[in-house]
């Protein structure tokens, strides 16, 4: 049974269900659970739900320690950028401890953080820094684009025996969508095809999925039939689904809210250029944020971000330059 839930409620539902299911799941972080009225506190008590100081290194480091000791912490980090002060724990501790131990320990934990709040939050709170995490063996990275995926990927993240960065998009926070009730798991490493089409493949994540679908709708009016693929997790990355789509369409546009050289789209482009080369009938084109810190003022902010028009333009570009098949 599905009903409509906002994206953020879907995430919370997953955490609640997993906490009810498994009492080793913990949930803590800043500015949560500060009163007895907190729904998580009421349901699970202060042992498992705690407010922490502004100490990300300790928060994440403690998650590593608690995970080594048999728990499954979910750390509420608010913004992905706040993880930067604790980056060692994220990329050089959590994902390496199992390996360095020769498989003797596991480090199951979820780092929950929002990103991409390009709505006047200016230079330090608007980043889309997920690509920093994709090349770290041992770490997984989920980027849900819909409320259903938000729920299903969070549940999967909590059950996963590895450290997972669960990055939800701030601009989707209140976005409603159908969400299955009860236990609902979305597997990692399986892309979703959001729209099928035969002319061009558009790969997009998070907030960009909606922009890609809008572009696809606009293109449909011109008779261009775009397929929209949402990888859902970028580590593991479902390269096969992307390649299959490109094999069908021969054309690909990659959309990413990050800057060009800090994007997941570059990584996907490189995979396509190597493993899908023979399918390609045009250049692998990226539509990313321009190479600037995100400015505060609205016209400048809009200027640097990918949008529907830029995607449409890029699709026309790859199709226009494609050899006649």
């Amino acid at each position: 049974m599905a009903r409509e839930l906002p994206y953020i409620a879907a995430i919370n539902e997953a955490i609640r269900l997993e906490m009810a299911r498994d009492d080793t799941v913990l949930y803590y972080g800043q500015n949560i659970a500060t009163t007895e009225n907190d729904e998580f506190v009421q349901a699970f008590g202060h042992d498992r739900v705690r407010v922490t100081p502004i100490s990300e290194t300790a928060e994440i480091g403690m998650a590593v320690g608690a995970a080594l000791a048999g728990y499954r912490p979910v750390v509420e980090l608010y913004m992905a950028e706040f993880m930067l002060v604790a980056m060692d724990q994220v990329v050089n501790e959590a994902p390496r401890m199992r390996y360095m131990s020769g498989g003797r320990v596991t480090v199951p934990l979820v780092l929950k953080a929002g990103y991409g709040f390009t709505a006047g939050w200016s230079g330090q709170h608007t980043g889309s820094i997920y690509a920093m995490f994709t090349g770290v063996p041992g770490l997984k990275v989920a980027l849900p684009a819909t409320p259903a995926d938000a729920k299903g990927l969070m549940a999967t993240a909590i059950r996963d025996d590895n450290p997972v960065c669960f990055f939800h998009h701030y601009l989707l926070t209140l976005e409603p969508g159908e969400v299955p009730e009860g236990e609902y798991l979305v597997p990692f490493g399986q892309a979703a095809i959001r729209r099928t089409g035969g002319d061009v493949t558009i790969v997009a994540t998070g907030w960009m999925v909606g922009k890609a679908l809008a572009a696809a709708a606009a293109l449909a009016a011109e008779g261009i039939d775009a397929e929209v693929v949402d990888p859902r997790t970028i580590q593991p990355l479902d390269t096969d689904t992307i390649l299959a789509s490109v094999a069908k369409t021969g054309h690909v546009v990659l959309v990413d809210q990050a800057t060009r050289h800090g994007s997941a789209s570059a990584i996907i482009a490189a995979e396509i250029a190597e493993r899908g080369f023979s399918s390609l009938r045009a250049a692998v084109t990226q539509v990313t944020a321009l190479d600037a810190t995100i400015p505060y003022s609205e016209p400048m902010e809009a200027f640097v971000l990918p949008d529907e028009a830029k995607i449409v333009g890029a699709v026309r570009g790859v199709l226009g330059t494609a050899p006649v098949s």
Binding site: E81, L172, L290, D291, Y296, S297, F303
Partner: protein
């Protein structure tokens, strides 16, 4: 109160009022001009005495760094409120051309080197400016401002250790407003939980630590002035804990676009249901308190105070008008200043 003459006391009052009025205008902008302020904005109302008292203790050439809660300081340092408001409104004539916004004011010519929006991260930056001042050898002092919550960020401890070890000319001004967003300081600080002041943290760095009533600009001034003198003499840093109470919520609503932004109720009321605490803080509001005292002490006549009030209101109305009239930056200006 010895050191401060009447003119300086009136100067302090004026600046406290200017900060209050400016912040009120920012807050009202959410209702009066919906949409002009984007993102997240943090106000200094309640901290005016602490800000003005601290900045009254430094001199030309000294420098400061602050957090995202940064509107008050440049107002005291002489930055035009028009430029500040225009920045908060994202306009071309903004102090930083609309690039930074409310959280990232800076005016290096007046000694305001900048802010960090990331908790605690401005503390080492201030320490580095103090290292520069020490090498430069011209007697400059740096004030680093930050909140109670920030003391739980590793950057705080790392910086205070080095500042003490190197005897850097810096004063660490910890504005303890008892809250980190919706978390009370006793919920996140081991000293506070144990009933100790946060200035006890200084002991971990063999550094003097002192706690002062941040609602009293004269006491703040005297305390910071002592610390500044110590720093300027080469004796090293001091941790000054200034007890303030912010009179507005942490910031405007954190909400995705489409949801109207505004300042919610203070967390004491909204989250903790503690109206008494909030009412007490309002009764203890440093701005009318200082006015009352100056009037009682005969430093300021009531009509002079009113006149200052009128001037300040006019000044801040002009700031709003200016900001509203200022054009937006050109969209493609976004590609400027990425690299020097």
């Amino acid at each position: 109160m010895t050191e401060l003459d009447n003119a300086k006391l009136v100067w302090m009052y004026r600046h406290m009022l200017r900060i209050r009025e400016f912040e009120e205008r920012v807050k009202r902008s959410f209702e009066e001009h919906p949409g002009v302020i984007r993102g997240h904005t943090h106000l200094a109302d309640g901290a005016e005495a602490s800000i003005v008292g601290s900045l009254a203790a430094i001199q030309q050439g000294d420098q400061i760094l602050t957090t995202y809660r940064c509107h008050g300081y440049p107002l005291v340092l002489g930055t035009d409120p028009k430029a500040i408001m225009a920045e908060i409104y994202g306009r071309r004539d903004g102090l930083c051309g609309g690039y930074g916004g409310s959280m990232h004011l800076c005016d290096p010519g007046r000694g305001f080197l900048g802010t960090s929006g990331i908790v605690g991260q401005g503390i080492p930056q201030a320490t580095g400016a103090a290292y520069a001042a020490q090498i430069r050898g011209q007697g400059q002092v740096v004030l680093g401002f930050f909140g109670d919550g920030a003391t739980k960020q590793g950057a705080f401890s790392e910086s205070l250790n080095i500042a003490s070890l190197w005897k850097l000319p810096i004063v660490f001004v910890l504005e303890n407003n008892s809250y980190n967003v919706v978390t009370r300081v006793e919920q996140e600080d081991a000293n506070a939980a144990a009933g100790e002041p946060l200035s006890v943290k200084a002991k971990a760095f063999s550094m003097p630590g002192v706690t002062v009533d941040g609602g009293d600009p004269v006491r703040v001034h005297d305390t910071v002035a002592d610390a500044v003198a110590r720093a300027r003499s080469g004796a090293g840093p001091t941790l000054v804990e200034s007890l303030v109470y912010r009179l507005s919520a942490h910031g405007n609503l954190i909400a995705p676009p489409g949801v109207p932004l505004h300042f919610p109720e203070h967390e004491a009321v909204e989250v903790f249901g503690n109206l008494a605490e909030f009412e007490a803080a309002k009764r203890n509001d440093p701005v009318p308190r200082f006015r009352g005292r100056l009037v009682t002490d005969g430093v300021l006549a009531p009509d002079q105070a009113d006149q200052i009030g009128a001037q300040v209101r006019e000044e801040m109305q002009a700031a709003v008008d200016f900001a509203l009239a200022s054009p937006y930056p050109a969209a493609d200006a976004a590609l400027n200043y990425v690299y020097a």
